[in-house]
Symmetry: C3
Subunit: 244 residues, 3 copies
Amino acid sequence: MIVLFTDFGNHDPYVGQVKARLEEHAPGQQVVDLLHQAPDYNAHAGAHLIAAFAPTFPPGTVFMCVVDPGVGTERSGTVILAGGRWFVGPDNGLLSIVSARNRDSRIWHINWQPEGASSTFHGRDIFAVIAALVAKGEFPADKLEEKPRLNVEFDKEDLDRVIYIDHFGNAWTGIRGAGLPKSTRIMARGGEFKHAESFGFVGKGEGFWFVNSVGLLELAINRGSAAEKLGIKLGDVVQVFRPN
Amino acid sequence: MIVLFTDFGNHDPYVGQVKARLEEHAPGQQVVDLLHQAPDYNAHAGAHLIAAFAPTFPPGTVFMCVVDPGVGTERSGTVILAGGRWFVGPDNGLLSIVSARNRDSRIWHINWQPEGASSTFHGRDIFAVIAALVAKGEFPADKLEEKPRLNVEFDKEDLDRVIYIDHFGNAWTGIRGAGLPKSTRIMARGGEFKHAESFGFVGKGEGFWFVNSVGLLELAINRGSAAEKLGIKLGDVVQVFRPN
Amino acid sequence: MIVLFTDFGNHDPYVGQVKARLEEHAPGQQVVDLLHQAPDYNAHAGAHLIAAFAPTFPPGTVFMCVVDPGVGTERSGTVILAGGRWFVGPDNGLLSIVSARNRDSRIWHINWQPEGASSTFHGRDIFAVIAALVAKGEFPADKLEEKPRLNVEFDKEDLDRVIYIDHFGNAWTGIRGAGLPKSTRIMARGGEFKHAESFGFVGKGEGFWFVNSVGLLELAINRGSAAEKLGIKLGDVVQVFRPN
């Protein structure tokens, strides 16, 4: 299975071109759109999201990840094997957290570019081809060079910020929820959030935090938009008050 | 074929997670995205939409339907066989109209939950698994219990309200158009709509009603947005003036 | 491979109905969503986009293209074979440029309509069925009639206007970039754009033009929205100042 994680947008003709290229190079391969509205230009938020999503997919999954404002410049492309899953994308930090959180990570530099490749669409012309080859089990050793580490690495610890806001207005943070006591209180944009298991356990319009389906701490308002009501924005700092 | 009808949104990383789960449990199964912007939290509008869509799909189709503000609380999950098609989703009324409009409906309660299921994403952890099993012909009898009726039932008659607005600004109503005389006039938000067969039969900027491609009465403005021009909103009452 | 190019929108339940119909008539056929937010009602912009996209897909690809404000009126449906690729859609100019730019084009009129076809959704009821048959190699000669030319034809030369704006705010023009000197300057909405190879080669917030991944001249601002910053809109005239 090839999983796509990009900031190409769901409305634009970019994802379709990538899929056509995948189908050319790996006919019949299953392709799943995970996210195409990753925060624009924001490899940092993307890196935390990818690290959270990865373990919820089966081993062998190939992630093609593109948030790539430096496309066409000197930044490298990379292939990573981490925790039994593959990741293909730019070496701009985007894949550094999932790599750092797995002790067994192996890293390759992509040293190949097809003739006539576009300067602005490596997703289609380079990463899709590499991902297709990996997915169908034809590891493209001739297009890669193993190396000890990535060029760009982000801090692998939790990020106390909002890294994604969904269409309901729920705010995902870069904080992993495992082990967080239920009496923990969270503050964001002046609003306070207590824990609840799910939406139906708090009143209509009431805020709460929960550990979401990929293990991240998420802020929500039952039947309302936390983003709109409190003005929560991408990148906002989130304060965590653990019980004494 | 598995058909998805949800309020997960097209931009968020929810649909992709569901599809990966479907692919794990029913590899190679065809999955069609019908609607992921069903009115948020609005099981009532969703129920009328599902009932209208169902007959336009071939028998044997498995619909996974999720508009589920009560996820994680005591509300049940259900499987329904109605008119030769399968429906999997929450027992909160969402599937009650398609069930009530088919005399042969059979209803099962889902009494299974996998270990480690998320409290907020039963679509991925429960309904996708059940839908996958049904779709590949492995009816999960061990996870279900037949019962005579749903816990939550909506009125199965037409709903004289706007239940969906598309990106053109056309307003779908919950009124079935079959048998409605062409001289019927419709009023909504102070605007009057007469019948026309299609867009090109009225002037630019002119409003009209027609029976849409799933049999519902729909209000539109040729090359314009009925929603914007008249301020039509989801839930608006629609008045039907049949000829004497 | 069937490629979809429409103005059906990504949020509405239209694309899913088309895909279900394709699956019924061409089971297992690969279907790729290229664009569902083609400018509404705008067959002219669509025609230039289709002509630019077509050569980037492999021969044998079947494009189903629907931007069809005249649906249900007397306008015809058409099938075109041009440059080894197939195109199915309305004869309203939308397919005329890709047809005119290929000397070997063959054109058929669709003279078939299934019983009970919707007046407003020929995409599902007519074009999807024809496209499915063509894609699986069962050319539907009984439903078609060859003819020498299309009813509606647009000028096949470049269009000096903005024909698409993506979610980053980048503006695509109808001007083919091949052979355009790099010292060419472009003016749009009072802003001037010089050439750069890609985003990372200009400063943050700086505008530039480049030849995009389908060969069209595109205007962009690095890490910003050209559309928002300069107020560029669909249809805006673009001035091209070639060097002396």
